[in-house]
Every structure is written in C-alpha cells, then in structure tokens.
C-alpha cells in the first residue's frame, strides 16, 4: 500500500505568542510545537494520534492541511508538498479537515448551503454540487435536516454537518482534529460511527483525540509527546507499553485498566483485550467456563 500523508523530519515553531491557538495549547512551551516528526500514513488506513495538551498533535493536523507550513522538514499529501503555494487547494480538497468546535466551522445559516460551501469554492458545476451534497448528507445521516438552521441542531448533528461539508469535496483523507471533544456521549458515538463507516469505504482517517476509547477503534495509534512521536503501533501493542503512555501524560482505556485490576485479582485476562466489548465478551466466556468447572 502506498502512503497518502508523509512527514519527514517535520519541525514547526510558532512565531512568538501571537496566535491564540498557541496561547491555549502551547503556553508553557514557546519552543517548537513539533520537533522532528517523521511519519507515513497509509492510504485507506485509520490512524489515531493521541497525546496530552501541548503535544503538538493539533499542530501536526494543521500542517497536513497546509494551514501551517513547516518551519523545517517536509509534509506531503498524496505526493504534493504542503510548502508549495500552487498546490494548496488540491491539498485541502484531498485531505479535508473537521475541527473541534462544531459552531465555529459552519458558515451558512442553512444546512445544505453549508455542505455546498466546499464544492462551491472548488468551482464544481451547479448540478454536480447538488448530487455531491445529497450523497454526502445521506452518508452521514443528516439528509432530513438539510433545510434546518444550524443553531437548531445538536452538537453531534452539527459535527455531522461539518463532516458532510468535507465529504462533499470528495477527499481521499479526512483529519478529525479533536472533533468529538465538545460533544455529549450520544453525539460522540454517532460521529465515531460515521468515521468508521467512511473508513470502511476507503477514506483514510486521521483521528486526533485524547479519548482512549476512540483511539482503540483505529488500526494504528501514534502517541505524540513534546512534539515527537514516542510510540507507534496497533492498539494492542500500544496499550501494552504502559510506561510510555504514563510518561506521555495519558490514561489507559477503561477496559485496559479494568483488565489490570482483574489480573491483580487473579483473573487471567489476555493482553489483547482493550475494548469494553472485547472485555465483556471475554468475561462472559470466562464466566461460562468457570461455571462449567
């Protein structure tokens, strides 16, 4: 498989303390937000990037989308260098981005107009815009809401509007920059379901999050700390490296913590059990065997 996003020795330093982004996330570290990151992300994969505040994960997301240009090193999206001004619009329509705050990324007062915003900017002909937005809205399940005003929707619905808006640009890759952080549990699981659905039809997903329960649903997890990738592997590999996770200021997923407690009590939970569903299934099985014995 070929890679869609690559970073080669990426460094990014915020210029002094001008951007408010920096104030909220980088206040304690005026140094480089990203300090020598080399990653390559496969086409069609589902990668989660986790890290505590100030780990540089959001900065990395903005570098992929060419919203930020590397101070040093190189980022390419489908072979296009993000430092190349000519390629900016191609890069952004190849790698779409969904942000954290659902309210601050919806432009129009009508849902379908907002979904059409991206294709309109790309100069897509009118009949095709209609086709694209209808398809996108059906795919994320907001077609029935298309005439509504965004402020009458719930957070999860608004975030799905934002996803539809990106989908209508027909990207190969979508970056979710903490897109579930401001949602209630219901909205969060709706958005996660949409993300998995999109991945299953071949769209590369880069999920930036600090919810471990979301990260375990990915194929691959990259842990970022102090602007570097400190660990990289499948979810079960990652969550067996307990000290790295602790050093990165992160918490283990609930299922892993529960499994640890159970192991302490003498229940032989295997290492690969990292989701609540898997743990529940294993425990049910174990319980049955236990009863049989």
């Amino acid at each position: 498989m070929s890679s869609i996003v690559t970073a080669e020795n990426l460094k990014y330093v915020y210029e002094r303390q001008e951007s408010p982004e920096e104030n909220s996330e980088q206040a304690e570290e005026p140094a480089s937000a990203i300090d020598g990151l080399s990653i390559s992300i496969e086409k069609g994969s589902f990668t989660a990037i986790i890290g505590s505040n100030g780990s540089g994960k959001s900065t990395f997301a903005k570098c992929i989308n060419a919203l930020l240009v590397p101070t040093e090193g190189r980022v390419t999206v489908d072979g296009m260098d993000t430092a190349d001004d000519e390629m900016v619009w191609d890069i952004r329509s190849t790698a779409g981005m969904v942000f954290q705050n659902p309210d601050n990324q919806i432009v129009s007062s009508i849902v379908e107009d907002d979904v059409a915003f991206g294709p309109e900017n790309l100069g897509v002909p009118t009949p095709e815009i209609r086709e694209r937005i209808d398809r996108a809205m059906k795919e994320v399940g907001i077609y029935e809401l298309r005439k509504r005003a965004p402020h009458t929707l719930s957070g999860g619905q608004k975030q799905r509007v934002a996803i539809a808006g990106v989908l209508a640009m027909e990207p190969q890759c979508i970056i979710f920059d903490e897109s579930t952080a401001m949602l209630d549990p219901g909205g969060r699981s709706d958005v996660m379901d949409v993300i998995e659905k999109l991945n299953s039809r071949g769209i590369t997903i880069i999920l930036i999050t600090h919810y471990m329960e979301e990260a375990v649903r990915a194929d691959r997890i990259i842990i970022m700390h102090d602007g570097r990738a400190v660990s990289d592997g499948t979810p079960s590999e990652i969550f067996s490296r307990r000290s790295i996770i602790k050093d990165a200021g992160l918490e283990l997923p609930y299922a892993v913590r529960t499994a640890d407690v159970l192991r302490g009590k003498g229940v032989p939970v295997p290492d690969g059990v990292i989701t609540i569903e898997a743990l529940a299934a294993w425990l049910a099985d174990y319980g049955r065997q236990y009863d049989a014995d």
């Binding site: 919203l67 990324q105 129009s108 007062s109 915003f117 991206g118 900017n121």
Partner: protein
Amino acid sequence: MLRDITLGQYYPRESVIHRLDPRVKIAATFLYLIMIFVVRDFTGYAFVTCVLAAVTAVSHVPVKFMARGMKPVMFIIVFTFVINIFVYKGTVLVSLGPLNITDNGLRQAVFIAVRLILLIFGTSLLTYTTKPMQLTDGFESIMRPLTKVGLPAHEIAMMMSIALRFIPVLLEETDKIMKAQQARGADFESGNLMKRAKSLIPLFIPLFVNAFRMAIELAMAMEARCYHGGNGRTRLNPMKLQKIDYIAIVLIMLFAAAVIVQASGITGLPMLWPSR
C-alpha cells in the same frame, strides 16, 4: 430568554411574492421608495396605498403582523407629526399659547406621517417575504457590477451572511456569560442607567474575546474548505429570472409610470391637498 429573539423578520408563506427573485424584490422596493418621494398629493398616496395593499394581500403576510412591526417606529412618526404641525407658517387654525397649528402645518404633518408609514410598510414587506440569505445573495448580485470600481461585493455579502449565521450563536454565548456572571453575584437589572451600563462591562469583554476567537477559528475552517474569495466560485442555487419575475418587473414599471404621470399633473385631474 435571549434565545426567543426571532432572526430577521421573515414570515414564511408560499406566495408569489415570496417566490420572486430577491433581486427583483430589492429593485422594486428601491423604485417604490423613490416613487413615494415623487408623490405630491393625497390622490397619489391613495394610489400607492392601494397598490401596497394589493401586494400585501398577494403576499399572505397578515396586516396585523405587519402593524405590530410598526410599533417601534410609532414614536418617530408621532414625534415628526408633532414637530411638523407647529413649525409651518400659514393660516392659524388653533392657537395653543405660543404654539399655532396652521393649515400648512397640519397638511405637512399628515403628509409626512403618511409618507413614513408607507415607507416602513413597503420596505418591511421586502424583509417579511425574503429570507435573509436570499437578501444577501440578491445584494451581492446587484452590486457585482460595482466590483469594477473597487466595491468588494462578494466580501460584503459574505460578511452579512456570516453575521446572520452567528447572531444566534452570539446570543447563546451572551446568555451563557450572563448566567455565569449572575452566578457569581453580578447584577444586570437594578440601579440607574449609568450603573446598569457599567454592569454590562463584565458581559461585553468576554463576549468580544469569544467573538474574536470564533472569527479566527471560522476563518481557519473556511480556508480548510478551500475558500479563496469570490473568484471561480460556483453556486448551489444560482439565481435565474423566471416568468413571474418578468411579469413583476413590468408591473412595477407600470406602477412607477403611473405615479410619475399623476404627480406631474399632465393628466389634468385635480390634486388633492397638494403642497405649494
């Protein structure tokens, strides 16, 4: 409580007037405004009123609803009426101490009051029958020729539509901040005007800060979705004149012609209480 404020004045109905192209409605309203100033006597006003009543009837916007919209401007109308009635010289009708009501004053007062009422009724019909988004699109399209002389038509329309989009968001934000401040003992309701104005400072500062933060995030989100100004943009719903739009254009032209002919006096019909 702040959430109850309705957005704009749009009154949703399925009428011919609602379906008209916003550009036609804007142009028609503009022409109507000019015509009101062309009118010189009360026969002219009677004609304009009849036309306005007919359009209102077709639009299905209830007159009661429109009259309610007049309340806030009632003060201005009464105020100008009172001023006008006393300042004009002429034959004294009633004398109230140093103030005299003259025939010219009375005529002028009634004339201006009618003019104001027709102005407000006519323009509000535009906002009652046109969605704010359509209005901004219409304005953009009408202003487009002026981009050649440096008027940023697309940018202005984009700003207007974003402002409309964020009114409810900012209201919610205000509500939130207000409650947060009240929870810490802030008092927005008592005291004299000065004190109340002062008490709003802790409300407005966080609101402004938030508004700027929102603007930065929105700008970034727009850029991420390939926004790069009005050049090369296509539209989901491009505006196209339909048959009813052409009919409306003809009708409004006829209306304007009728008003001009009547006001010029060439018809030979007597003027009803005209100004000198």
